[in-house]
């Protein structure tokens, strides 16, 4: 029987990992991820979870180690955050190129300097091109659910791509909230066994020895990379399948890579990701009560990037009103340009512009907020919608300034 618990995001992740029965866990402590590995080590010591728990000497070793275990054909888990993710960066590319079906939790945290342990999304955004599927959870419940789904996605033989499950540091990792913990039997029925079948790609075989993680020259290398890209793009379908199947069995969650909220008739649309979506929902309900047509698109997966879903949700035939302005709220900045999510969204919108020219596109504003754990208040979100309303009514004379650092007057 599933049970209702009161858990933090980190604890919910640990429960999701326990239910997924990895055979090897290796992790190095870093705030705000530590509670995940503390809970897992307790579970292993109490034999609630039959896994090898390996105390490693660094994040680099943590990810390299679970790659070695995955090469042996077993399910693994590791978790990190911020500087730790940066220290792993080499191994992220390595493991995705090797097509190892790993699952890692990342507690989204700022990057030094200045040194700062609080939550923002600079870490995972900086590694968007590392070949990992990236998913962002909004709640502790979704965190637990996404860990289980991540294994189903990563190990799908069509995908064979590692999955990074992101939780906002502290705001999600350290906040306690209601979480339904599913029962083991249901999860066992949902996931394949934690030992991969013989002959699973990218694994050793004593009867037919294999060379793994090999080198390849220019021609062959490009071929492998093409295949990796193609499979990542195609992973959207398995992701939807897994999400849909999960929703059917567990009664919650979504098959969508982008989750809309009151968006179908919205004129002002905020696009965001992670736990801040909850506060945005509250603000939208309040503004709607005042008669404003506002809505939300929560990006769940940044990789594979759901370009077509985004264009359909913003401009598709089922919309009941045209979108007049778009905001992108994110907790990172690609220095010298814009927020990383805005770059992704705008790239997708350009394809739309090409298709729909000369109608053009609505104005887009990029709100950079929450850096280094800065609180994002309801008032600030309301002000962002005000900005969007002004942008929508703009007559074209005012020069567009698309990036705004929320709460920093100097940038105004």
């Amino acid at each position: 029987m599933s049970e209702l618990h009161f858990l933090s995001g980190n604890e919910a992740v640990a429960q999701g990992v326990r239910l997924s029965r990895p055979r090897v866990i290796a992790a190095y402590p870093i705030t705000p991820q530590t509670i995940v590995v503390e809970r897992l080590s307790e579970m292993v010591e109490s034999r609630e979870l039959a896994a090898e728990f390996v105390h490693v000497e660094s994040e680099h070793s943590a990810l390299a180690l679970v790659m070695g275990s995955a090469a042996m054909g077993v399910r693994t888990f590791t978790a990190t955050s911020s500087q730790g993710l940066m220290y792993m960066a080499e191994c992220l590319h390595y493991t995705s190129g090797g097509r190892f079906p790993l699952v890692m939790m990342n507690a989204n945290r700022s990057l030094a300097l200045p040194w700062n342990i609080y939550g923002d999304q600079s870490d995972s955004l900086a590694l968007l091109s590392s070949g990992w599927i990236q998913v962002y959870a909004e709640t502790a419940q979704e965190s637990l659910d996404m860990i289980i789904q991540a294994y189903a996605v990563a190990e799908d033989v069509r995908v064979r791509t590692p999955v990074l499950v992101n939780l906002d540091g502290f705001v999600l990792t350290h906040t306690y909230e209601p979480v339904i913990v599913p029962d083991q039997d249901t999860v066992d029925a949902f996931l394949p066994p934690p030992d991969f079948p013989p002959g699973y790609p990218g694994t050793f075989d004593l009867l037919r020895p294999q060379s793994l993680a090999v080198s390849a020259g220019p021609g062959d290398y490009a071929g492998f990379k093409y295949r990796q890209h193609r499979d990542m793009v195609a992973a959207a379908e398995p992701i939807r399948d897994v999400g849909g199947r999960f929703a059917e069995i567990f009664g919650r969650g979504s098959a969508d890579l982008i989750e809309p909220y009151r968006c179908g008739d919205a004129e002002l649309v905020m696009i965001t990701l992670g736990s801040i979506a909850g506060t945005v929902r509250d603000v939208i309900d309040d503004l709607r009560a005042d008669g404003l047509r506002v809505g939300l698109l929560r990006i769940r997966y940044l990789r594979p990037f759901p370009s077509e879903d985004l264009r359909r949700l913003l401009f598709g035939p089922l919309r009941r009103a045209a979108v007049a302005a778009i905001g992108i709220l994110e907790k990172d900045i690609s220095f010298g340009h814009q927020g990383g999510v805005a770059l992704e969204v705008k790239a997708a919108l350009y394809d739309q512009a090409e298709a729909s020219a000369p109608a053009g596109l609505p104005p887009v504003r990029n709100f950079i907020a929450g850096l280094g754990g800065q609180d994002i208040s309801r008032g600030q979100i309301i002000a962002m919608f005000d900005d969007l309303a002004r942008a929508a009514g703009r007559d074209g004379d005012e020069p567009a300034r698309s990036v705004r650092f929320v709460g920093l007057e100097a940038s105004r």
Binding site: E57, S61, A64, Q210
Partner: protein, 299 residues
């Protein structure tokens, strides 16, 4: 069964590789796998042996093998060892081959972790005394006076000193078995690999592996150098087992260094007084080594 030349396996597990002619490192891999056999899982970090062994689609390793990130040989070995435990596999060997740069420099952290956790792994450092795969740059194991492309005048820190002592670093972790070996003394080497394969815990071999390309010597000098380096006392054959160190060869006198050095272009900038200084350093190192042997075996 003691492995010897007589009963050494005819199976070749490292064939068709693209190493330079006369490569000592490839000999280390070839011999090791003949002893350990086909139920081996091999990890090689970025470096010569991985670069010459796995060039798609030419796969020169005959057993399960993979390339690890440069710094992570110890970690990937540990991951395989953890899965071996999880799966309850028996009679398998988890063995890493890393160069001196991959061991003494960038890989030391993950090696230390694997030692510390007492993983059941065999770690073999084939020491060719520089970063050869990238084109002969100075490493933490480059000997005093040797010319590399980043020490073109000969590597000379303030005073001649012995190389980083990897075996004693391993011993300080309390590993059950750590030893040096040289391609010039194959019987000693094969015996040590066999011991390593029987140890329940980490074992470490630091093997002298000439690189004709990087050392500017003849491609047929590999074995001669492997004998000479031991006979000159520059490369003691020593083993640490269960808390006691033992010398496998304990010569009363050493062959002069000059012959050994003269075979290699990398040492040609050395002046006679520097060679004398190197001999004094060697003698000091032996004094320390013999004291270690004495003290550890007395306990």
């Amino acid at each position: 069964m003691t492995i010897s030349l007589k009963n050494l396996s005819a199976e070749e597990y490292f064939l068709g590789h693209k190493a330079c002619g006369g490569c000592g490192g490839s000999l280390v891999v070839r011999w090791t796998l003949k002893v350990l056999g086909e139920r081996s899982y091999v990890v090689m970090p970025a470096g010569c042996m991985s670069a010459v062994g796995f060039i798609y689609p030419q796969m020169a390793l005959g057993v399960n093998a993979m390339i690890s990130p440069f710094a992570a040989t110890g970690a990937v070995l540990s991951g395989i060892a953890a899965a071996v435990r999880a799966k309850g596999l028996r009679d398998v060997h988890v063995v890493g081959f890393a160069g001196d740069g991959g061991t003494a420099d960038i890989g030391l952290q993950s090696l230390s972790g694997a030692f510390d956790r007492k993983e059941r792994i065999i770690y073999i450092c084939y020491d060719n005394e520089a970063y050869m795969n990238t084109g002969i740059q100075r490493s933490g194991a480059t000997p005093w006076g040797a010319r590399t492309t980043t020490s073109p005048g000969g590597f000379r820190p303030s005073s001649p000193a012995p190389k980083k002592d990897l075996v004693r670093i391993a011993a300080a972790h309390g590993v059950p078995f750590a030893a040096t070996a040289s391609v010039g003394y194959p019987t000693d080497f094969l015996r040590k690999v066999e011991i390593a394969g029987s140890i329940d815990g980490p074992s470490f071999l630091h093997v002298y592996a000439p690189c004709p390309t990087g050392w500017a010597c003849e491609s047929d000098a590999t074995i001669r150098l492997g004998k000479s380096v031991v006979d000159t006392g520059l490369w003691p054959l020593v083993e640490w087992r269960d808390g006691a160190a033992r010398l496998n060869r304990d010569p009363e006198a050493f062959v002069p260094l000059a012959d050994y050095l003269a075979m290699q272009g990398r040492f040609k900038t050395l002046r006679p007084e520097e060679i004398s200084a190197m001999e004094r350093v060697r003698d000091g190192a032996w004094k320390s080594l013999r004291a270690w042997v004495r003290e550890s075996s007395a306990g």
